[in-house]
Symmetry: C2
Subunit: 414 residues, 2 copies
Amino acid sequence: MGLIVQKFGGTSVADLERIRKVAERVIQTVRQGHQVVVILSAMAGTTDHLLKMAHQAAATPDKRELDVLLSTGEQTTASLLAIILKSMGYAAKSLMGFQAAVLTDHDFGNARILDIETKRIQHILAGGTIVVVAGFQGCDTEGNITTLGRGGSDTSAVAIAAALNADLCEIYTDVDGIYTADPRVCAKARKLSAITYDEMLNMASLGAKVLQIRSVAFAKKFSVAVHVRSSFTQEEGTMVVHEDAGMESLVVSAVTHDKNEARITLQKVPDQPGVAAKIFTPIAQQGIIVDMIIQNTREEGQTDLTFTVPQSDFQRAMQIERRIAAEIGAETVIGDENIAKISVIGVGMKNHSGVASIMFNTLSRENINITMISTSEIRISCVIDEKYAELAVRVLHTAFGLDCEKPAAGGQVR
Amino acid sequence: MGLIVQKFGGTSVADLERIRKVAERVIQTVRQGHQVVVILSAMAGTTDHLLKMAHQAAATPDKRELDVLLSTGEQTTASLLAIILKSMGYAAKSLMGFQAAVLTDHDFGNARILDIETKRIQHILAGGTIVVVAGFQGCDTEGNITTLGRGGSDTSAVAIAAALNADLCEIYTDVDGIYTADPRVCAKARKLSAITYDEMLNMASLGAKVLQIRSVAFAKKFSVAVHVRSSFTQEEGTMVVHEDAGMESLVVSAVTHDKNEARITLQKVPDQPGVAAKIFTPIAQQGIIVDMIIQNTREEGQTDLTFTVPQSDFQRAMQIERRIAAEIGAETVIGDENIAKISVIGVGMKNHSGVASIMFNTLSRENINITMISTSEIRISCVIDEKYAELAVRVLHTAFGLDCEKPAAGGQVR
């Protein structure tokens, strides 16, 4: 008998019929002899609906009050699941963030979990009752309702699993696991049975949005075994774990692509101390996240500076940089939205040289030009022309030996 | 400068536009120099929608979980009002039941307020901030969310006003005050400038559903001055207060009618000890509330027993009584849904004889037959044929000198 935390996302609780399916899944686990803590998201679409209402109420809704409003979404699903579980003859109790004692800081809308006092949860579990916790929400030291930011229910689940020292944290979602590449782009992609926290961290930030990145960092820190799997099938998904000698010894585990960035280049920037700060501080102040940065010295005293930002912030960033360029005496600002970032990821990369050269040679053979490169310990990313993105994923998937024998019939991302 | 509690009902917060109007009303009071605590209901229709969803989830939803679900309604309106107040430049903070420290017993769905620890509310008010409390909800000693039953926001408002020792509790609703009779029935009805708690208690239970009856009892107990008025006009409404020498010296303050009862008669009941208990215990156990009871001795050893129940429980009550009649050997069970209860109410009645005779004579002159009579210290109620209800109200209204000079143009119930 173990203690299992099961988290179900918005599409898994989208209506009463699906919540009933969640109840069946939970009961199945209970009947296997486990104690279960369930973490729920709001019904798919609810958070967006509430956000829209708040923005109709005020152009800039107060953050504290917005959290009070948004937290009703998970309150609704948690109480409904408890109602259904009880009607099926199983003892169940819902707990909101303040009742589950999920203590956070005061950063409304993006709060961080400081501590979880598990006494109440453990007391309820000990009585043979299923605990249903409203995800995404917590409570600060002054008793204010806080929320953890988009996808925060993943973090709720992992943090509660860590605090309870649970045997497993299952994340039920609308995909059936983590793939070596996006199956819609690469027919030979296959589901990974396991992936390391570090690989997942690199995946999450690159557009494979299966798990909120903060939850993965949390899982790594507290060694929470996470199982990402589908709500709609009984198939095994992908385990996210520490690196292990027994894992598949692949140099590269996955190839990802991301078309949601845009590139901005400031040409002929006077090469003076402090100029980089002048370029990047104003956009950082606007909350725009810069991903890759490259600087090319052009000639004596002049340099070109290129960086990428999310496409949704592109127009704002261009406006800011046109103003900055005039201030610092740069010649021109060039923008390009038609780019894609292709990455290869793998913990095996640490012990193998030559991954970069295989990547560059493979793209070169297809006449795909690389315009930016960035690397981390277990990842190499290249920016290329957007129209080559799918081709690049397929040829790299083959080059790094990731292709499955034949495309799996059921292995599609839903 | 005073402390004013303002409660707005479901129709007053039915959508964002109306919540904006509530904000304007609150700000108007703040600008007059008052401290304000606002109590809100859920948007009109929300509680019914949530109840429906819960009953789709389970035939008999768990009561604790139902309260968690229902409380989201007031959570939504309270946060939206705080968002709007802040966007209009006024400091405001929403508090849920647990945050406002509205401590209740454990009777989910119909909890009673035990205590309100006002320290937090007072601290926020002292900082010049408007406090917006989610009505209808509280929290028991174990930190469970509870609700106070239908119309519970009135009780929230009065209880918080009492705990804060507020100068006034304003109940904003969709009628503009308490009338001497229903203006839809009696064109000469006029709005009362004041009414006593006791009169209001008798009114509330007789179908003039402006205030939850429990809130009136609470207001009386703690001497909370209550002002019932319209959200949609600036007109003065009706003050509900203790009896006062300065009040209008009317013998009868109002004439009410109620068509929502039905009558059941058991004929030729053997007149034995314990027979009344056999007749009434089973329907009490089913939660059916019996209002009036009359017993007529028919002849030696036989009696007729007549009583009224809410029309919504009529069929169930008839089934039960048919079974009981067979058991105790009563001859027949007769039911009648076409009845109306007409009442005259007034604290002045205590000092005046002859109210009953005026009532009976007035009805008799119109050939209206009285089939049941019940009285309290300040009320006389008669059951008559339903079709005479409106006529009875009008002639009694005239007979007790309640008619206004000419019908007020704006004085209609909305």
